[in-house]
Amino acid sequence: MSDHHTSSYYLPSPSHWPIVGSIALFSIMFGAINWLHGVPFGHYLFALGLAILFFMMFGWFSTVVKESGRGYYDNQVDRSFRWGMSWFIFSEVMFFSAFFGALFYARVWGVPWLAGEKGYDTNVYLIWQNFKDVWPVFHNPNPGLFVGPQSVMYTWGIPALNTLILLTSGVTITIAHWGLLKNNRKQLIIGMALTVALGILFLYCQAHEYMEAYMDKGLKLSSGIYGTTFFSLTGFHGLHVTIGTIMLIVILVRCCFGHFDKEHHFAFEAVSWYWHFVDVVWLLLFVFVYWL
């Protein structure tokens, strides 16, 4: 470890973790596309890349945890981490806004225009004269290419339950945080465990919903613009819940090892910010994808 006593700001010594991460990302991306193209090594390279990525994250974060435990990080380093995580979450918000943008565009402009509304007697309208502007889109402009869904998810069934689950998990993680601030380890661990359980429950419900959509309702990724926006938005959200749940599990394990105290628990807070972020995204999903 470098020791630069003249500055209190901790400067890490050279690290091999970033390049390991780059190799992992390269393998994942290059492997995934070769897999899509049916090249024999594609899925192996993809899986290898994922394995390297997990190895890298474990190694990199272990290093950080170790350095933190040794007291290398002062408040200024802590603030750098906080700004870093906040702006990372902001970039995630912008990622989701691209998909929300696609949904709003389709509903407000794309689909009505395709149906020839608002004075848009376009060629497209002339090709597909039977297409009507209704949302959800059950009959696509070209039903031969894109078979529409028979029905869509009922708002006040699983989706409403999932809303309740995620909102509750937001409460439990706050209870855990209060436990941490009060030095009440039991409250901390129970709160975290409940949050993890609720995250897993959410994912189970989501998987169940997807099964129902594919098997019973004919609602698929390929069933036109409704399926496209529905699955891309809920799918990327589900992916983020999965990542969030894994992060929560890591934090729970670290809580059990007694890693955090009242002053030093940036990782805990970062994960809880992330969890609140997926929570807020879900609320928007519930309103704009399932409800309205």
């Binding site: 010594s13 690290s15 990302l25 603030r79 970039s91 943008g101 794309g110 894109f146 390929s222």
Partner: protein, 547 residues
Amino acid sequence: MTDTTLNHDINHDAHHDEHPRLLKNPLKWAARWVFTTNHKDIGTLYLWLALIMFFVGGAMAMIIRAELFQPGARIVDPELFNQMTTLHGLIMVFGVVMPAMTGLANWQIPMMIGAPDMALPRLNNWSFWILPFAFAILISTLFMSGPAPDFGWTFYAPLSTVYGPPSTDFMVVSIHLLGLSSILGAINIIATIINLRAPGMTWMRMPMFVWTWLITAFLLLAVMPVLAGCVTMVLADRHFGTSFFNPAGGGDPILFQHLFWFFGHPEVYILILPAFGVVSEVIPTFSRKRLFGYHFMVYATVAIAAVSFIVWAHHMFTTGMPIAGELFFMYLTMLVAVPTGVKVFNWVTTMFRGSITFETPMLFALGFLVMFTIGGFSGVMLSLAPADYQYQDTYFVVAHFHYVLVPGSIFGIMAAVYYWLPKWTGHMYNETLGKLHFWLSAIFLNVTFFPMHFLGLAGMPRRIPDYALQFADFNQIASIGAFIFGLSQIIFLVVIVRCILKGKPAGDKPWDGAEGLEWDLPSPPPYHTWMTPPSPALIIDREAEAG
């Protein structure tokens, strides 16, 4: 990147900074550059990557201009021509201007705000080392069976979805990686500027280069994820049966353009704002006056960035959007001219009654000032929706954006390199060669790009390898200009290499008009600088100056 060994000399004079040499100890040498967490090392890596890609992307431009020297399909296949226009654009944007600006940020921001390094040094390494892998994937598309991406750097649907070659998927993931690198880099720059400023370096005392980069970093954070979403949709439409951009399934190819340009328009400000910052450092130095209207420069930069989010559809005037949309985007686009005009006015006024000398950095800054403004004017012409119906997809557009990118962003980068190279290497560069590089570049880029205005107004479409006979004269002039401009850039490489190897000692402050914390450090600066924050007395008090 074997040339990086030359950078060894950067730290040679600093007592405790012995670094492994390439020839004596190649493994240790490689390990230093691959594992480094030092902002100066990482800045050097970014700058070398940008320089190498500059020649790669430049070679592609030469192929384009060779083909366009005469009408008819002469030198290359139309298919290869399309691949060259696509990759030239992608490489120049993502491989040259963005890494070069990030390299400048890495070198300069910590030294200029009195910070010991970037806020998150390991993440900084990762931001860089994602790039070589991303470009390996992108360039590998040239060697695949089937064409490389051949639909222009904007990869509009359905050209990239329904009709895109298999290599499109590789382009998609390389853009994912480039975006990730930019996002991580931007996070680091924001955290550094917010959190690592030395005591006394208040917001309104920050150098303009730092301000422009802070705002650029926010733009990056806001739009790179949208690009990631957009390319993800392309991939999904190609392989997973979605219909984001396919009207047969209720989607819309115009949605692609909205998403792309929501990224693409702020992206052009990402490419130019750091250059604004460089020029705002260079012009005061060589005018021996402080920057005129510092506060308004800051506000103008913020204003440009804010407006950049609500002008994107001026790239889409001919897509048949409602008249209200055309007017909205037309007027807001014209509004950008106001803060930009404030900046140009302030740069000119900074020089007014200054004791001006014309060293190479100043020449590039002045070239920027004049020729970027030409690009700005043609931008105002393009912003007029009714006029744009004629200009859309002609060489006029090519002329416009090359005027803002070449004598704009690229000249900004070159001004920065000449300005700070003595600081980085400890040696003065060869002034005669520098001036030769400037004059050849300035003259021949005009020979290249100015005739394109006429070609465009006369109706020559862009991205087509063949053209009607009446366009031949101007195309030949443009091609000759391009070849000489391209060759002139070898001088740049020579100047840099020579400056790294030898040259007159630069001294701490080679420019007598320069102000700022980086000039209070030795040249070359030691490996770690500002380990103890600079004395607040060293920081320019711009508040007092304003009053």
